[in-house]
């Protein structure tokens, strides 16, 4: 009988790493920071409703997972390890975990992009593990995995590819976290990298293993496997969102800072983030609209998620062990 193992560890260090934001790129600007719905540049609490569209092919089966996803993003706790495979989860061998995918898609719908290249045009296979970037002035991605042979690590050679990944200037390690989460600790500029580093590292599991963090990966990393549970956030997920929460001035601790509070709105339409579970061609996606709110900051204006009902899903019916009693 499989058991769900939940371990939480907080690692304190002098440095923290972060990720990437949606809308950032050559079209809108590489330095774009995306914020959840409702952020206007003024501080406060953003209350964001997450609902299950009643047109979904199944609805009540999704409620536990959606509630768990809401709790997980609200708590912003760093978990390592956060990948639970095979006998360490409650998922069937050929199944894909609905809650893990929903956690990832909600991350997109509150502003987070993939820390890795993922599905950029022309990038396939192992090269999708390189750190998120534009393809540069030569309009072609440049790949060199450096001496360690690991794509996405700090010794990668990327020529003119413009980095889109916020990293901590002290250590460039996406698996450790420490405040303040703002521009005093974060940069996208390669000149701010530690000595000997070529490129920002991303929170890919292979990079993590090399840095001593086994079975750990950013939730926002693109790529899901069958029989894999990833229902808790990594350091990179937490620090990226917290970086955005430092506000338009990217200085933590002043008036434009905000916190987010997701809440489950039920099986209904018209919420801030609507989840529609129904037949589609792909696996799942988030779709969002946005508007500039000052400088390089974009606030999401609309958001929705569609998840393929034809997939061989596992629907988790176990509430968060720690948060089920309203810890938040």
């Amino acid at each position: 009988m499989k058991s769900l193992i939940l371990m939480i560890s907080l690692l304190f260090s002098a440095s923290v790493n972060s990720g990437s934001f949606i809308f950032a790129g050559e079209a809108n600007g590489v330095g774009i920071v995306a914020h959840p719905q409702g952020y206007t540049g003024a501080g406060g609490t953003l209350n964001i409703s997450v609902c299950i569209d009643p047109a979904s092919t199944v609805t009540t089966s999704l409620e536990t997972s959606v509630t768990n996803v809401v709790h997980t993003w609200n708590q912003l706790l760093v978990t390592s390890p956060n990948l639970f495979l095979g006998a360490n989860n409650n998922i069937g061998g050929s199944q894909f975990d609905w809650e893990s995918v929903a956690l990832h898609e909600v991350g997109h719908c509150i502003g987070l992009a993939h820390p890795n290249l993922g599905s950029q045009t022309g990038v396939t296979g192992a090269n999708t593990n390189y750190t998120n970037s534009t393809d540069g002035v030569d309009n072609g991605f440049d790949f060199g995995f450096g001496g360690d042979g690991i794509r996405g690590s700090n010794d990668d050679v990327r020529d003119d590819d413009i980095n889109l990944h916020w990293y901590n200037t002290g250590v460039n390690n996406p698996f450790i976290v420490s405040p303040p989460y703002d521009s005093s600790n974060y940069s996208m500029v390669l000149a701010d990298l530690p000595g000997g580093h070529n490129y920002p590292a991303n929170a890919d599991r292979t990079v993590g293993s090399a840095l001593g963090f086994t079975n750990t990966e950013a939730v926002m990393q693109q790529g899901t496997f069958n029989d894999e549970g990833q229902r808790n956030l990594g350091a990179d997920d937490v620090s990226t969102l917290r970086l955005a929460m430092s506000g338009v001035d990217m200085v933590q601790g002043n008036a434009d800072d905000y916190t987010i509070k997701l809440f489950y709105g039920g099986i209904t339409a018209g919420c801030d983030i609507n989840i529609l579970h129904h037949p589609i061609g792909g696996l799942a996606f988030c779709q969002a609209g946005g508007a500039f709110v000052g400088g390089s900051n974009i606030s999401i204006t609309t958001a929705s998620i569609e998840i393929n009902s034809g997939t061989n899903w596992f629907f988790n019916n176990t509430g968060d062990l720690i948060f089920a009693n309203g810890f938040e």
Partner: protein, 177 residues
């Protein structure tokens, strides 16, 4: 995991079988980047004779099944659109068209995490007559009304994908007969 070939005959309209070159086909391949598994492709083939063949990625409930159906009505609708396809069209020209559309509009910013690679191929006599690939289907849907003659491309892709949205339970029951 099932590993069988199921032939599911679904006659949706009474069309006479038109003698035609059965090596003419439209093929759509969606590579699902969110899947970090070996078999991450949805493959849909529609022949001029109405034959439809579907192969699903590893994530799908019908993975391992090769589903064959017959749908004269949809086949006719699909092939009727081919007359509006410009065989000079390419990924670069589509990219340029969309850039012009977006530049001229004052629309809110748009983001979609669906960046799956979609390849559409037209085959005749078994050879590729024309093909195009794109990874921004949701964006094309968003700006559909501004695409002009390119709308037929989105129509074709949407229609082809709809062929894969079949009754899963029915297929499984048929396979047990």
């Amino acid at each position: 995991m099932k590993n069988s070939t199921l032939t599911l005959i679904v006659l949706t309209a009474c069309f006479p079988v038109i003698a035609s070159n059965d090596e003419s086909s439209i093929v759509l391949i969606r590579t699902i980047h969110a899947l970090a598994v070996d078999d991450n492709k949805l493959i849909i083939k529609s022949s001029k004779t109405g034959d439809v063949e579907l192969k699903f990625p590893q994530s799908h409930q019908l993975y391992g099944y090769t589903v064959k159906t017959k749908d004269f009505e949809k086949s006719k609708a699909l092939y009727s659109k081919l007359g509006d396809i410009n065989y000079d069209w390419s990924h670069e020209k589509l990219k340029y068209k969309l850039a012009v559309v977006k530049k001229n509009l004052n629309h809110p910013l748009f983001y979609s995490s669906d960046r799956d690679l979609i390849e559409l191929k037209l085959k005749e006599q078994g050879k590729i007559k024309w093909q195009i690939s794109l990874n921004n289907l949701q964006e094309l849907k968003r700006y559909y009304s501004y695409l002009g003659q390119w709308q037929v491309l989105v129509d074709l892709i949407v229609e082809m994908e709809s062929l894969s949205l079949i009754d899963i339970d029915k297929v499984k029951k048929e396979s047990q007969k």
